[in-house]
């Protein structure tokens, strides 16, 4: 009898659960009555003085300079302030720790003026010296920051320090680089390049090789100059140290930086998390106490911050609690005293937690594709533009795929509309460009999206009428259902429209990354999320010398245009140059764009001060809980 009762209870509960969902479900067309409905609870489970958000996972790095993934960045950007912040309403850079900045020497030199009386969360003064230390720490390869090149490629002298060049000094006048290179190569040194030091007769020498090989080259070079006097008496050589970087604190409140060009995106870039200040006094103390290991400076017991929120409690992989930092310069305008950040790892668990009010915002998680149809008409569902492109890369070293007609045929035979609508439940936007639109007034170049007839014709012109004789190639992707589903759709489209066959090769993520780096693929999928609000963050992917150019597409005209745009201080001229560069890349089908990302998430209606953001950056300091 009891068993019967239990079965009855479970069955009734299930029916109840399903019925309840039915009642809540809005009408398919999102009519007036459905607009009043919400997927989750609508009253906070906590007081007005806190917000509960999801961070997806325990961060890998809490140090803003090392922060790489989204979960790292979200915590770091709220705890560590930069010189500049983005106004959430206008998306324009506005002062944060700097109260203003001067642009000098036609955009080559900047002086940031820090606010008066800035303090770290331990009450210690925060000065321009902290910024000098932090930015040089970013460029120092020993720090191990993934974004190190973002720093050293823009600051004059940064590359020499970051890539461990050798500095040759003692020339009485400007040295002939060719002669120096030939002389050193005659001594057996393998040289990558030689660059003159800014406003100096010194030279930076970059050697070829990696690891021990490169170190041997450097030693050989230094010995050739100092011991064998290869370049004559009085010429000395040593490893470049941080003093070669053209970045210095002029006093406690002024930071001067000289750039390698009048890079118009520099201010936007300086808002990026890795350009935050870190507390030199804390890091150096921790390193001293731990035999040089500074990594524990971000632990709860040690961490000192400059931003709006300070970490006050942490439970590994469960949650972290942040409280308003009273020493933050704008603390008076920080609206919510406490933020509880949960580490809910799966999308489904985040949706469940959101539904019952255990979190107010699903955070970096997307709404699972299988739930999109169910929730997309609720008022607390959001789908915002997101600064990212999903595309396919082609290995241009392969003879068949090196024919632009073949690449164009492959692109024109993909029905992107069907993919976004049917495979991705309508959450993304079909796209035919390299750069997302709307970046600092940039207008992207759009190629034709779908034209199977033209695709057939192009393939025939390339020598494969009706796909005859076209070799079967391999499409490599990383293990994730969504990639598999899209590629299956593309595989069918290519079969139907071009009569060509493709094998799908699935490899695990870390192996996939290695294969991309080694160009070990024929066609592969890739997604790119912009680091800052400028087209350059996408254009850079196709530069011949970019480490992120996995397809090996190289075009001298494209490179020259991009290089020229970095020297151009007129914004509209620069945008035109970048547009022209994008056109070159797209007309040559450097890659096959598929869709633009958007960001789906759930947000409680009582959370205010939450702005749509192209980069999905949401500063907690703007948010608050509105009580009914």
């Amino acid at each position: 009898m009891k068993i019967k009762n239990i079965c009855l209870f479970v069955a009734l509960s299930l029916v109840f659960a399903c019925t309840k969902k039915e009642e809540n479900a809005p009408t398919p067309n999102g009519s007036e009555s459905s607009a009043e409905q919400f997927f989750g609870t609508t009253a906070p489970k906590h007081g007005k003085d806190e917000i509960w958000i999801n961070n997806r996972e325990e961060p890998q790095y809490m140090d803003p300079i090392l922060a790489a993934g989204v979960p790292d960045g979200n915590l770091a950007m709220n705890a560590f302030a930069r010189l500049v912040q983005i106004n959430p309403e206008t998306s324009q850079p506005v002062p944060d720790l700097a109260e203003r900045w001067d642009v000098l020497d036609e955009g080559y030199r900047y002086i940031f003026h820090l606010r008066e009386g800035l303090k770290w969360s331990d009450g210690q003064p925060l000065t321009a010296h902290d910024f000098e230390y932090s930015w040089k720490r970013l460029m120092n390869p020993k720090t191990g920051a993934q974004y190190t090149a973002l720093g050293y490629t823009i600051v004059e002298g940064g590359e020499a320090f970051g890539r461990r060049a050798v500095v040759i000094s003692g020339f009485s006048k400007e040295a002939a680089i060719d002669t120096v290179q030939k002389t050193l190569e005659a001594k057996g040194v393998s040289i990558e390049k030689i660059k003159p030091k800014f406003q100096s007769t010194d030279l930076f020498v970059f050697v070829n090789g990696e690891g021990k090989d490169a170190d041997d080259q450097r030693t050989k070079l230094i010995n050739a100059i100092t011991k064998s006097n290869a370049l004559g008496q009085g010429i000395s050589a040593k490893m470049a140290d941080e003093s070669v970087v053209e970045l210095r604190a002029l006093d406690d409140r002024q930071l001067e930086v000289r750039l390698v060009g009048p890079l118009p995106y520099f201010i936007l870039l300086s808002e990026f998390t890795c350009f935050a200040a870190v507390p030199k006094h804390v890091i150096e103390r921790i390193a001293k106490e731990n035999n040089g290991d500074e990594s524990s400076w971000v632990r709860l017991e040690n961490i000192v911050v400059s931003g709006a929120y300070k970490l006050v409690k942490e439970n590994f992989k469960i949650d972290k609690v942040y409280e308003k930092n009273p020493f933050y310069w704008d603390a008076a305008n920080v609206k919510t005293p406490r933020i509880r950040v949960l580490m809910i790892e799966t999308e489904t668990a985040a949706m469940n937690a959101y539904k019952v009010g255990e979190i107010d915002w699903t955070g970096p998680h997307e709404v699972p594709a299988e739930q999109l149809n169910q929730v997309q008409n609720f008022k607390d569902f959001h789908n915002d533009p997101y600064l990212g492109v999903y595309y396919y890369i082609i290995n241009h070293d392969l003879p068949v795929l090196n024919d632009v007609r073949v690449r164009k045929a492959l692109s024109l035979s993909i029905d992107r509309e069907t993919i976004t609508k049917n495979v991705l439940a309508g959450s993304y936007i079909p796209y035919g460009g390299l750069v997302p639109d709307g970046l600092a007034g940039y207008k992207s170049y759009q190629q034709e999206l779908y034209n199977p007839e033209k695709a057939k014709q192009l393939l025939a012109e390339a020598g494969y009428p009706e796909g005859k004789g076209f070799p079967k190639f391999k499409f490599k992707y990383d293990t994730k259902d969504i990639h598999r589903l899209i590629i299956q759709a593309v595989q069918q489209m290519w079969k139907k429209n071009l009569n060509i066959d493709v094998d799908m090769v699935n490899v695990e993520w870390k192996v996939y990354l290695d294969d991309l780096q080694k160009h070990n693929f024929e066609i592969a999928r890739q997604g790119w999320i912009g680091d800052f609000l400028d087209p350059y963050t996408f254009i850079e992917l196709n530069l011949s010398n970019s480490g992120n150019n996995h397809s090996n597409w190289k075009n001298a005209e494209f490179d020259a245009l991009v290089e020229k745009s970095n020297q151009e201080s007129d914004l509209s001229l620069r945008m035109q140059m970048l547009h022209d560069a994008e056109k070159i890349a797209m007309e040559d089908q450097a890659m096959i764009p598929i869709y633009l990302y958007t960001k789906t998430y759930m947000l409680k209606p009582f959370i205010k001060g939450f702005y749509k953001d192209y980069q999905d950056h949401h500063l907690w300091k703007h948010m608050w809980v509105e009580e009914k």
């Binding site: 109840f16 390869p141 191990g144 993934q146 590994f316 809910i344 790892e345 539904k355 695990e508």
Partner: protein, 305 residues
């Protein structure tokens, strides 16, 4: 018996050494590096990272250094969680996993034993069929299904328990039920099978002939003999239940040790993966030893020699 235990302990140490060596080699020859990233990372930075974790040294040197550290109880640094040691991560996560595992085990044993015993005593009745049908369902419904179902009913429809996470006793209940149900079902079937075999044996008939009550026969004699197969099953079961279930802990977002078996492998977090493998191996080897010792006490036919 002491000699038996000492002999087995030596075996445990040797097995453990082999497991560590093989795991170390397998992990290291797997393609992909812990530092592979989507974004190009400069060579100089990769070199600095490799040097930090000692990967710049030859593999055999790394191996001997690692073995030396393990002997000292130092399992190394996590690569994924950059400012934490593997010892610390295991220290934080293992107790949570064990709490869930312990509760799952208790309920699995209680329900399994009682259900199995009732089914055996009332063989071929509606009790037997009913209980064994439930047990069959328990075996057939993995936590991958029972977990979300429990959340749907007891966290979303009836908000009695939290949907996921950790913090109070309520967070332990649903994962334990989900994890324990499969084991409960196995134990019930094994207990029933074991008892049925024993109930028909001569010594039970003798016990009945001596005029012992049915209750005494079942509890004192039949159950003791009947649990032998369960004890064999429990050794490895306890080991795997105590180091956590990847599925259950992922579904309930439990910050336990289970998910590291998969995540650390995907992330190529070499030392963390080695750490959880070692913990699991130690559990498994010691519990198997315990099972062998327990056998000696339960079954008089088995001698330690």
């Amino acid at each position: 018996m002491l000699f038996f235990i000492a002999k087995r302990l030596v075996g445990v140490v040797i097995t453990l050494f082999v497991i560590i060596t093989l795991s170390f080699l397998i992990i290291r020859i797997t393609p992909g590096s812990p530092f592979s990233q989507e974004r190009d990372v400069p060579v100089e930075v990769l070199e600095a990272l490799k040097a930090k974790y000692g990967f710049d040294k030859p593999l055999h040197k790394q191996y001997f250094q690692y073995i030396g550290n393990v002997v000292k109880g130092d399992l190394g640094l996590s690569i994924k969680y950059s400012n934490r040691t593997v010892n610390e991560i295991i220290k934080i996560s293992l107790p949570k996993t064990m709490q869930i595992g312990f509760l799952a085990l208790i309920w699995a044993i209680l329900v399994g034993f009682v259900g199995g015993a009732i089914a055996a005593v009332k063989q071929n009745t509606k009790w037997d069929y009913g209980l064994m049908s439930i047990a069959m369902c328990g075996i057939s419904i993995p936590p991958l299904v029972s977990g979300p179902l429990l959340i749907l009913v007891f966290a979303l429809a009836l908000p009695w328990f939290p949907t996921s996470g950790w913090g109070s006793w309520k967070h332990v209940v649903l994962p334990s039920i989900s994890l324990g149900s499969v084991y409960a079902a196995y134990i019930a079937r094994l207990t029933r099978g074991g008892m049925l075999e024993v109930i028909r044996s001569n010594y039970i008939r003798t016990a009945r002939a001596k005029g012992l009550s049915e209750k005494a026969v079942v509890v004192k004699h039949a159950l003791k003999g009947g649990i032998l197969p369960v004890v064999t099953f429990l050794g490895p079961a306890v080991a795997s239940i105590m180091v956590g279930s990847v599925v259950v802990e992922k579904i309930f977002n439990t910050p336990g040790m289970g998910p590291y078996f998969v995540d650390a492998a995907f992330n190529r977090d070499y030392f963390l993966l080695m750490g959880v493998v070692i913990v699991y191996a130690v559990f498994l080897l010691l519990l198997n030893l315990l099972v062998d010792i327990a056998y000696g006490f339960i079954d008089p036919r088995i001698r330690f020699e």
